[in-house]
Structure formats: structure tokens, C-alpha cells
């Protein structure tokens, strides 16, 4: 079955959340990506002599303490922050689910190892993991992605293990075994495809959480080093102006809210849609 088709062309259950959520996320990321490409090797328009200017036609939300366009800078920061969160979740999904499915498919020993990974992962909050990585390897995008991924791997291990175990208990798997299909074939043809909807929901909800965690890390200076803009660091650098130019803090703040809320709504919308499809079919 084609998962994309299930999401896009299924008109039986129109979902306002899914539409609104996608609009929020794309509304930030599409202009952000255009600006990101335009500013790939630039200094984001630093111009001290035009610092802290009120909104004009050229700068819709005015300029920031270094004379950059506040809105454009926050949108570029949003692309970086979202990209980092997204990549870290791809990593966590791959490693976590892989380990979980292996644990479900294989014997007791693998299960013990998988559970050990889960317990170990849960013991460390992302701030500690990030601080450790930054101390050992210095600050950077890769370190930040790894820190976030490590924190989210346990969730995917558990989910993958549970979902796979449930599928393995189904009659059609028993039937497949009786037809002498190899374990790999069963895994690839019957188990994994049926896990996709659940993982997709978990993935989008986790991207929203990772986005919050990423903002926290970069706010604390544990993210990628400047000049690469990230929403958390932008927020931190604007906050000294909270009394004299309060809108400055609001811009990256609202962008974070839009992205997190939008991603969450997409996740919830997907879950509802899959659940109702399930109910009917």
C-alpha cells in the first residue's frame, strides 16, 4: 500500500489540523529556505549603522541589534533549527527502530541489549548529552544532531519493538512462516511496511519535541557556533532588548511556536487519519 497516497488522496476524512499544521510549518520553512539559499555565503546583511530600526517596507519587522532584517534572520534560523531537529530524528528513527525491530525479531539477548540502550538513554537529559559532546568534541551541527538523536533513540527502540512484536503475533505472519518465507523476506515485506504509519506519527510528534530541545540547546550556547543562526541563540542575543524593543524577542519566539505547534498538528492529524482508516477497513 502506498503511504503517501493514504495521507494525501484520502478524502474521506478531511482534517483541519493537518491542513493548518502544514500551513504553519510550510509558511515558515518555504520563505526561510529561499532566504537560506540566498544568504548561503553571506553575513546575513549585518549593517551596524542601521541597527534597531523600526519596520519599513524593506524590513517588514525592522532590523535587529546588528542591523540585520529581524524577520529574515529568524526565518533563516528556523530553517537551520528545523533542519537540525529533522535530521536528528531521521537518525534516531533509523537507529532506534532498527534496534527495536531486531530485538522483536531476534532472541532474548538482543532484547536485553535493546532494553539496556533504552534505560541508558533515558538516564541522560539532552542538555547533559549535549554538554558532554560539546566538551569532548567542541560545538557544532553534527554534535548537536547526535545529542538530540541519542536522547530520542530510546523512544523509537521501544516503539519499534512493541509494534514489530504485535505484527509478529498476527496470523498472516504465521501464514507467511508456513509458506517457508525467509525471516528477512517476512521482515521486509510484511513487518516493516505495516509499521510505517505508526512510526510516521511518532516521527512528526518527535520532530516537534526535538525542535523545542534544539531551541533550548542553542539558547544555552550548546548548539552550533555562530555565525550560523539558530532560533535559540537568536532569542538569547535579542533578550537584552526585552525592555526597549520587546518585539525583537517575539519574532523568533513566534517562529518557534508556529513550527512546534504546526508539526504537532501534522502529527495529530496523521494519527487521526490513520486511526479512522483503520477503523473503517
Amino acid at each position: 500500500m502506498n503511504i503517501l497516497k493514504r495521507i494525501t488522496s484520502d478524502t474521506r476524512f478531511p482534517s483541519l489540523g493537518l491542513a493548518l499544521g502544514s500551513a504553519c510549518v510550510l509558511g515558515v520553512l518555504v520563505p526561510g529556505a529561499v532566504l537560506w539559499l540566498a544568504h548561503l555565503h553571506a553575513t546575513f546583511g549585518i549593517d551596524i549603522h542601521a541597527r534597531l530600526k523600526p519596520p519599513t517596507f524593506a524590513h517588514w519587522l525592522g532590523t535587529d541589534p546588528l542591523g540585520r532584517d529581524t524577520l529574515a534572520f529568524s526565518l533563516v534560523g528556523a530553517v537551520n533549527s528545523y533542519g537540525i531537529s529533522y535530521l536528528s530524528m531521521v537518525l534516531a528513527l533509523g537507529l532506534g527502530t532498527g534496534l527495536g525491530v531486531l530485538a522483536a525479531a531476534a532472541g532474548q539477548k538482543t532484547k536485553i541489549i535493546a532494553n539496556g540502550v533504552v534505560e541508558l538513554g533515558i538516564a541522560f537529559p539532552p542538555i547533559i548529552i549535549a554538554a558532554l559532546l560539546v566538551t569532548l568534541c567542541g560545538a557544532g551541527v553534527v554534535q548537536e544532531i547526535c545529542a538530540l538523536a541519542i536522547f530520542f533513540i530510546p523512544g523509537f527502540v521501544r516503539l519499534g519493538q512493541q509494534a514489530a512484536a504485535n505484527i509478529y503475533a498476527q496470523d498472516y505472519i504465521a501464514a507467511a512462516r508456513l509458506s517457508a518465507l525467509t525471516p528477512w523476506r517476512i521482515l521486509l515485506r510484511h513487518v516493516l511496511p505495516n509499521m510505517v504509519p505508526g512510526l510516521l506519527v511518532q516521527f512528526s510528534v518527535n520532530v516537534a519535541l526535538a525542535m523545542l530541545a534544539e531551541t533550548g540547546l542553542s539558547y544555552l550556547g550548546l548548539g552550533a557556533p555562530p555565525p550560523l543562526p539558530e532560533l535559540g541563540r537568536i532569542l538569547a542575543s535579542y533578550q537584552v532588548h526585552i525592555y526597549d524593543h520587546p518585539h525583537l524577542v517575539a519574532v523568533p519566539g513566534v517562529v518557534v511556536v508556529l513550527l512546534v505547534l504546526g508539526t504537532n498538528m501534522v502529527g495529530d492529524g496523521l494519527r487521526d487519519r490513520f486511526a479512522r482508516q483503520e477503523h473503517i477497513s
Binding site: 539532552p126 512510526l199 555562530p226 526597549d244 483503520e278
Partner: protein, 508 residues
């Protein structure tokens, strides 16, 4: 097809708590009642740099000086608010006409906090320790010029210099020259023991240091019973701590952008203070690239220093052209030697054979002015074709990497010592400037006793540095001193990095 288990929502609560706590910690700790200090004679003072040790004779951190100098430790001499040298542990002295022999008479009845008496042997120990080959003293050159220290009697010290050094008495007032006792010196890094008006009580790492009044102080006793220094790296947290009463004073407030908030608040008094402050883009002159004067000059042309100074957002900020700040009587304005000219910078870089896209590493200490300046420096250098990679470090890492191992290309740092142009005569110093002409000028300056001639030589030294740009000199900013209205006696003008607390009291 897939079970309900796959739809189980993740446990978000834990992450939310963690994030919530993180944000909470970043914004400030627990509030306390305002003005509690006025009743029990205690005061809470905000400091920007959390020290990693408490011994100023082995570590250059400004944080150590802000807490310990003049409060816990004292030197033979001291400087007043105007920078004039006064007697302290040495109640008087005489200097031989050739400027080489110094005879100090020590104050009688001076005791260290552990009860040990101050004698000539203590002073000899301190000076010998600072000039020993294995000494880690950040201003070792002061002591390396000492030929001999001897003790004619218990309370008189005789010091012979190798060469006349006219700044010797004022340099003895620096925190690097405080007098420490043989039996406690090794432990000072953790538990400082000095002769000062306050006794070290408690140190919560990266959080606070508590001092209590020394009841048996040899001089004028302190007016307060307890002083708590609290450390803030985050400017907003510092502002909130003042507003919610967790702090009573902040002598060098880190976010002058927010000063207006306190000017409008009648509970606080905001003052512009003066202290030596020389912010610069320090260059590692040992690197082949920066050993070429053309490249250093190119960098000076590439940076819009007026713009960087404006970005500091502090009234009274000035562009610096050399290693001297305007409170110094020898200061001369050299800020226009290299005006902003990116085209000229590019031409000089081409002439020096520097490839466009050359990568430079900029390491930054954890302080607001360095972060802002660093980002701007990266932007300006990118405009002339240089690629800058920024690394932000914590203080201990910055000190070890830059100051200790000289492992850096560029860094942004403010020097806050008074009259310290002599660091350019030290070829072993962290930026590694080695110029015989400057060294000769400095030797002539220190050998000269006549103030007018010294002034001329000082101006010549400043001009030499301004043209040779061993470091790109950036800006001076005044201190923003914020305190509750009732707090009196804080020093507004500081000749050297310190927070002298013995004169501070709660008034009306």
C-alpha cells in the same frame, strides 16, 4: 493492520520538565526578599566572571580580582580611585636616586586571617615566589626585574632591582603582587588567606562566594558584616536578579542596553564608571600569517571599528587606536590611523599573498562584548575574503588554550589592567609580539623618572603600536554601575580590576 500500541503517544512530560527547569535556571534562581541586607549588614553583589581559582598570583582571570583583591588580599602599596599610589602594608618607603634600591617599612601588627604575622620574611617569600623560574604569575615581568630581596629587620624590606623601573610602586599595587604567607600560599587557590578587611567564608562554584568581616583587621574595619558575590553569565538573569532583590549592586553591569530600565526605577541608582578597558582583536603574532605586518594592517582596515563600538550600545564608548584607555594620563587618540577601508584591506591581503578564502579560527571567551564583537569581526573579515570559524569557550578553557598554550589565530578580549602597555615588550606573552624597537622604547620609558619625558615616551610607544597593529585595537567602554539607592561607598572609578567592599555601607 497495526495495533493501538503504535499509536501510543510518547511520554512528553519528562522532556517538558527538563526543558522547563532549563529555562527556569537560565532565567534566574529563587527570588529572595529585597533589602534584607540593610538590616543584617550583608550585601549581594553581581559579578560577570566566575573565577576558577582564587589566587590572583597564579591566574590572570579578572573574576579573581573582582572578588579577592582589596577584600581578601592586600599588597605593599594600593591605588586610590584616581589611580594615585598610597601606602598599604608598607607604611612608607624610600627610593634611591638611581631608582634601583627600594626600602619599605612594613605596617606593624598586621596579621593574616589564620593569625600569622606579616614580617619581612613573608614579603620576601611572596616576591621570591613570584619571580621564581617556575612561577605562574601572570605579570611575572614585574618580579623578574628584582635582583634581590633582603630583610634588614623584621619590619623593613629592602628590594634591589636589576634596572630602574619607574612603574614599580604602582605595579606593586596590582593584584598580581599581593602579599601571601608561606604556610597558606599553596592553598590560596581554594581557600584564600590574606591580610584584608574580609575573610573568605564559602565558595559555591560558578554560583557565589561569601566573605565575612575580618574582626581583627589591622586598619579601618569594614562596615558590612557579610558580602556575597554572585556570578552571572547571562545579562537578562543579571537584570532580573537586581529587580527581584537577589542582588543589591552590580558594579560592572553586563547589559548596558538594559540600563534605562534601572534609570527609570527610583529604587536604583545608575552611574557611569571608569576603569581601564581595552577591547581588542588579539592576533597570534607567532602564526606565519600574522607575523607579516601587511596582514595585520589589512585586518585593521577591514574592521569598521566605529561600527563595532556603536554596536556595544554604551554611551561614552570610544574607538581605540592603541593599547591605552582614555582614563590614563598618557592617553593619546590614535583611532584614525587605520580608517575603515575594505578595498585597501583586500589590496594589502593580495600584496601579502593571502589567498581569498583563507580560514582563520576565532576563539571567544564567554562574555557578552566578545560574542557580539566576534560575530561582527567574522562578518567584516568575510567581506574582504577571509573565512572565520568561531569557537565559544568557557573561561578555564579559554585561559588554557589562548593564554597558556598560545593555541589560537585570533580572539576578542578586553585587557583591564592599568598602564599595561609593557605586555608588548614581553615576547613570551600570549600574542607573541616581538619587536626590538618597541622593547627599546619600553626600556627607556621605565628607566626614565621625569614625568614629562615619560609622557613623551609613552606616546611614542602608543604610536608604535597603533601603526604596527600587533593586535587590532577596538574600543573602550565605561562601566555601568547599578546599585540600590541605599548602597553607598561603591567605587565608581576603578584604576584596576577590583570591587573594594570595605568602604561600602547601607545608608538612607
Amino acid at each position: 493492520m497495526f495495533s493501538a500500541a503504535t499509536l501510543h503517544r510518547p511520554k512528553k512530560t519528562r522532556l517538558r520538565i527538563i526543558l522547563g527547569l532549563t529555562l527556569f535556571c537560565a532565567v534566574g534562581g529563587t527570588p529572595s526578599s529585597a533589602m534584607a541586607g540593610a538590616q543584617d549588614g550583608s550585601i549581594a553583589v553581581g559579578i560577570n566572571i566566575s573565577p576558577s581559582t582564587l589566587d590572583p598570583t597564579t591566574n590572570p582571570s579578572e573574576g579573581i580580582r573582582n572578588v579577592t583583591y582589596a577584600n581578601i588580599y592586600e599588597g605593599l602599596t594600593a591605588e586610590d580611585e584616581q589611580g594615585a599610589v598610597h601606602p598599604l602594608l608598607a607604611q612608607s618607603w624610600s627610593v634611591s636616586p638611581d631608582g634601583v634600591h627600594y626600602a619599605f617599612a612594613l605596617h606593624p601588627n598586621v596579621q593574616f586571617h589564620d593569625g600569622a604575622p606579616l614580617t619581612c620574611a613573608t614579603v620576601k617569600f611572596s616576591l621570591d615566589r613570584a619571580r621564581a623560574p617556575e612561577s605562574l604569575n601572570p605579570q611575572k615581568q614585574i618580579f623578574e626585574n628584582i635582583q634581590d630581596v633582603s630583610c634588614p629587620s623584621d619590619l623593613s624590606v629592602s628590594v634591589t632591582l636589576k634596572a630602574p623601573h619607574a612603574s614599580f610602586l604602582s605595579e606593586l599595587a596590582w593584584a598580581d603582587a599581593v602579599i601571601v604567607a608561606p604556610q597558606s600560599a599553596a592553598g590560596n587557590a581554594q581557600h584564600p588567606i590574606g591580610t584584608g578587611p574580609f575573610i573568605f567564608k564559602d565558595w559555591k562554584r560558578a554560583e557565589s562566594i561569601t566573605l565575612k568581616k575580618n574582626p581583627t583587621y589591622w586598619g579601618t574595619p569594614a562596615k558590612l558584616k557579610t558580602v556575597i558575590f554572585r556570578f552571572y553569565t547571562d545579562p537578562l538573569a543579571a537584570a532580573n536578579a537586581l529587580l527581584d532583590g537577589q542582588l543589591d549592586a552590580y558594579p560592572s553591569f553586563p547589559a548596558p542596553e538594559m540600563a534605562a530600565r534601572f534609570t527609570q526605577n527610583s529604587a536604583f541608582v545608575v552611574k557611569q564608571g571608569i576603569a581601564p578597558f581595552k577591547a581588542m582583536l588579539a592576533l597570534n603574532n607567532r602564526r606565519k600569517l600574522f607575523a607579516q605586518p601587511l596582514v595585520r594592517q589589512a585586518l585593521a582596515y577591514a574592521l569598521d571599528r566605529a561600527g563595532i563600538t556603536e554596536a556595544m550600545d554604551i554611551p561614552g564608548a570610544l574607538v581605540l587606536g592603541s593599547h591605552m584607555s582614555p582614563e590614563n594620563q598618557n592617553y593619546t587618540d590614535l583611532s584614525s590611523v587605520y580608517p575603515y577601508n575594505p578595498e585597501k584591506a583586500k589590496a594589502l591581503l593580495r600584496q601579502a599573498g593571502v589567498e581569498p578564502g583563507t580560514r582563520l579560527k576565532l576563539v571567544l571567551p564567554p562574555i557578552a562584548y566578545a560574542h557580539t564583537t566576534g560575530e561582527l569581526v567574522a562578518a567584516y573579515l568575510e567581506q574582504v575574503g577571509l573565512n572565520v570559524t568561531i569557537t565559544q569557550l568557557e573561561w578555564p578553557a579559554w585561559l588554557a588554550q589562548v593564554f597558556g598554550h598560545h593555541d589560537f589565530d585570533m580572539t576578542v578580549i578586553a585587557h583591564t589592567e592599568p598602564d599595561d602597555i609593557g605586555i608588548y615588550a614581553r615576547k613570551d606573552y600570549y600574542f607573541g609580539y616581538n619587536n626590538p624597537d618597541f622593547q627599546a622604547l619600553y626600556a627607556a620609558y621605565e628607566a626614565e623618572q621625569d614625568p614629562a619625558k615619560r609622557h613623551t615616551l609613552s606616546v611614542q610607544m602608543q604610536e608604535k603600536l597603533a601603526h604596527d597593529v600587533p593586535n587590532v585595537f577596538l574600543f573602550f567602554v565605561p562601566r555601568t554601575n547599578i546599585a540600590r539607592r541605599e548602597v553607598k561607598g561603591l567605587w565608581n572609578r576603578l584604576p584596576l580590576p577590583a570591587t573594594p567592599m570595605s568602604s561600602v555601607f547601607w545608608g538612607q
